[in-house]
């Protein structure tokens, strides 16, 4: 499939404008193993989309391609925010490069990790603040001399950090060392940190893994609030079906790197291909 030009919009039934994220024909191979196999995915602005599939289906690899950690051998990834479209994978057919992770973040994509990757020895506040201050331009000179610009920026990020901690209801543990926090709290903190980078698209990698039912319900509420109150589009990988059914507008199912189903959660749940992927067929 040839790379589309930026002028051609992706055909979408509901939204006439360009989608926030258009993944087309992405293929990722590691030696003999094909991790992603001609994957197509479209995320509309303002939606909550879930990617599900058995373990090893390629979900986290997809996230890694989106954020520039891996470079797919084939396919394009197009991100459109504020009217500008950026190709996240560039270069010729033989020498492909993806934009570096921090550049992808600047463009507007933030993520959390499957096994939480907080800055363990730092406080919760600092964890979020570090992400927030990547957005302003204070450099070493400003910092060393204590220039008024630097101080103003610092005050602004402090305010943003406090607001985010309030948003995830973690203000009370702001000064605690991140590694000492409970698992569910750490997950929320990681989300707050990702939000501190003012993303248009938030990638959540199994946010409910290892949490108890109460925390899962809170997470559902949080995800919806992120979407409605902060206007952030969410793409999440998840195994917990209840959570997926509850928050997702649309679900894409991956198996062995291929998209095997797509649609509203209820539809997908009944799709025989999906059932087979998870449970196997009766006569095996």
């Amino acid at each position: 499939m040839s790379a589309p030009t930026t002028a051609t919009p992706v055909p979408q039934p509901a939204a006439p404008a360009k989608p926030l994220l258009a993944v087309r024909d992405v293929t990722l191979r590691f030696g003999g193993l094909t991790s992603l196999d001609h994957v197509d995915l479209t995320v509309d602005r303002g939606a909550i989309l879930a990617v599900i599939g058995p373990n090893g289906a390629g979900k986290t690899s997809l996230f890694n391609c989106l954020t520039g950690v891996y470079t797919p051998q084939l396919g394009t990834i197009e991100f459109t925010a504020d009217g500008t479209t950026t190709q996240l994978v560039t270069g010729s057919a033989r020498r492909r490069r993806s934009r570096k992770p921090h550049v992808v973040n600047r463009i507007g994509v933030a993520r959390t990790f499957q096994n939480i990757r907080l800055f363990a020895a730092l406080s919760a506040f600092d964890n979020v603040k570090i992400a927030a201050e990547t957005r302003h331009r204070t450099g070493p000179v400003g910092a060393m001399l204590g220039l008024p610009n630097a101080r103003a920026n610092d005050a602004k990020t402090d305010a943003l950090t406090e607001e985010l901690l309030d948003f995830v209801a973690l203000r009370s543990v702001a000064d605690e060392v991140a590694s000492s926090l409970s698992y569910g709290v750490q997950r929320r903190l990681e989300i707050a940190r990702a939000l501190a980078t003012s993303p248009s698209l938030l990638l959540l990698d199994e946010p409910a893994a290892g949490t108890n039912p109460t925390e899962k319900r809170e997470l559902e509420r949080l995800i919806r609030r992120i979407n409605t109150e902060r206007g952030v589009t969410v793409l999440l990988i998840e195994h917990d079906m209840r959570l997926v059914m509850s928050v997702a507008d649309e679900v894409t199912v991956l198996n062995f790197g291929k998209v095997i189903a797509r649609g509203r959660p209820a539809q997908v749940q009944r799709d025989p291909a999906v059932v087979e992927a998870y449970l196997g067929t009766a006569d095996e």
């Binding site: 890694n64 954020t67 520039g68 950690v69 891996y70 570096k100 992770p101 921090h102 550049v103 973040n105 600047r106 933030a110 993520r111 990790f113 990757r117 907080l118 800055f119 363990a120 020895a121 730092l122 600092d126 603040k129 570090i130 992400a131 201050e133 990547t134 957005r135 302003h136 204070t138 450099g139 070493p140 910092a143 060393m144 001399l145 204590g146 630097a150 920026n153 610092d154 990020t157 060392v177 590694s179 940190r193 990702a194 501190a196 980078t197």
Partner: protein
């Protein structure tokens, strides 16, 4: 032979040696090593066993055996909790009190003030020799260590060629003051050379760092070591530019101020240079302190803690590593100018590769990441050997040997250093529990971090 389920199996008798005997052997070896290190004779090329012979003459040999046995018995008793529990109980209370006092911010500020006052007032009462030591050894290396701390302690980059920038700064000063065989484009006062050398070393740091900082920690170390070697080769071989092995052809002039009615000329006297040095040090420390608690410092910490997560959250990791490298290099250059002017005569032998490793040792010993720790550590490791040397307790050539031994011992027993930053202690503890990674050394597990 036993039988299990009809099959004969041979039970292998454990051939392990009694660990207590192993420990005895260990103490004896350690004792022998210490004895060898402290004997004042030095080997020659013809009689290689001279020193070993001198170390273990009749009484020394018996003394060694007895000492080894005594220490062994004591430590075995300690292990068996007969003595250990008693001592531990007594010292726990003291240690708790110490932590309570040391933790208070007020007492720390007071201690800091006391040190600053002492640094200003005390040196006048020392003999000329010690004043010279303070300037030529302590002040210079403390400044170097504070600079290297930015690279190693804050950005987590292992730089084994740091002194190369020191040499570049010193030779830049020599060049611009007309001390080299090459005539400079314009002659400058050493004060003016300071910012010039800072810029030169900054550029040099960027040039070295740009291709190499994306390498893994261990490779970076070797490459920086190679850089120092190459700079050394350049200084030695490019005779017409650098004066080769002989170094400067004319002495580098001392600092002078001729500005706004203030006329002051530094001379061979040590004390004025001491104040110049610690003045510079104070400025650098204040600036770096601000840096540490700013966005830049926090970004460095993020990169050190988890490079992948930092990049995913928008921190341009390579740019920040370059920044640290360049800042470290320029500090080194600054020290180089001061050093060249102070000594007057410099040549390639003033900047051996061993010096790079020594400065690194001071930083690690003092507690990398903590400005105070690094100052304390480097001050101790430069001042004490000079004292011991003067008192003939230790020969100058043996000092690197002791530094190496101290380094290994520190890593085994107190890797966080003398006065560690609280964050560093936490990082090390977390690393030993299997959480997180305490430094920017390992391969990013999920591929590149950009």
């Amino acid at each position: 032979m036993s039988h299990v389920g009809g099959l004969p199996i041979r039970v292998r008798r454990s051939r392990k040696v009694d660990p207590r005997l192993v420990r005895l052997f260990g103490w004896l070896v350690l004792g022998a090593l210490l004895r060898l290190m402290t004997v004042t004779a030095e080997g020659t090329s013809t009689d290689h066993l001279l020193v070993i012979d001198a170390a273990f003459k009749s009484t020394a040999l018996i003394g060694w055996l007895v000492a080894g046995l005594v220490v062994w018995v004591l430590t075995e008793l300690w292990h068996a909790r007969k003595v250990g529990a008693l001592v531990t109980a007594r010292t726990t209370g003291v240690r708790q009190q110490w932590h309570a006092v040391a933790g208070r911010a007020l007492s720390r500020r007071a201690a800091l003030l006391a040190v600053v006052v002492a640094a200003i007032v005390l040196p006048q009462f020392l003999s000329e020799f010690y004043q010279r030591v303070l300037v030529d050894q302590v002040a210079v290396f403390v400044l170097l260590a504070v600079g290297l701390n930015v690279v190693v302690g804050w950005a987590g980059l292992l730089d084994l060629g740091y002194v190369a920038f020191f040499a570049i700064g010193a030779y830049t000063c020599a060049y611009f003051t007309g001390a080299l065989p090459v005539t400079p484009l314009f002659t400058l006062n050493p004060f003016v050379v300071l910012p010039v050398a800072v810029v030169v070393c900054l550029v040099a740091g960027l040039l070295l760092g740009a291709p190499t900082l994306r390498l893994r920690g261990d490779y970076l170390a070797i490459v920086t070591l190679g850089f120092h070697e190459i700079v050394q080769l350049f200084l030695v071989n490019k005779n017409n530019w650098t004066g080769g092995n002989q170094g400067v052809s004319r002495p580098v002039p001392h600092f002078t101020i001729n500005l706004l009615g203030i006329h002051y000329k530094w001379t061979l006297a040590s004390l004025p240079y001491w104040f110049l040095f610690i003045g510079m040090l104070a400025i650098v420390v204040i600036l770096f302190s601000r840096l540490e608690h700013s966005k830049v410092g926090r970004s460095w910490t993020a990169v050190r803690e988890d490079e992948v997560a930092a990049a995913a959250n928008g921190v341009p990791t390579v740019k920040y590593k370059l920044m640290a490298f360049a800042i470290g290099a320029s500090t080194s250059g600054l020290a180089g100018v001061l050093y060249a002017s102070r000594l007057g005569y410099i040549n390639p032998a003033s900047f051996p590769v061993v010096l790079s490793i020594s400065v690194l040792s001071y930083v690690i010993f003092g507690g990398m990441g903590s400005i105070i720790g690094v100052i304390a550590g480097s001050a101790l490791l430069t001042f004490l050997p000079a004292v011991f040397q003067e008192q003939n307790i230790v020969r100058q050539e043996d000092i690197p040997m002791w530094i190496g031994a101290i380094l290994v011992t520190m890593m085994l027993f107190r890797p966080q250093g003398l006065i560690p930053s609280r964050r560093r202690k936490r990082e090390l503890r977390l690393a030993s529990e299997g959480v997180a990674d305490a430094d920017a050394m390992s391969e990013a597990p999920e591929g590149r971090t950009g």
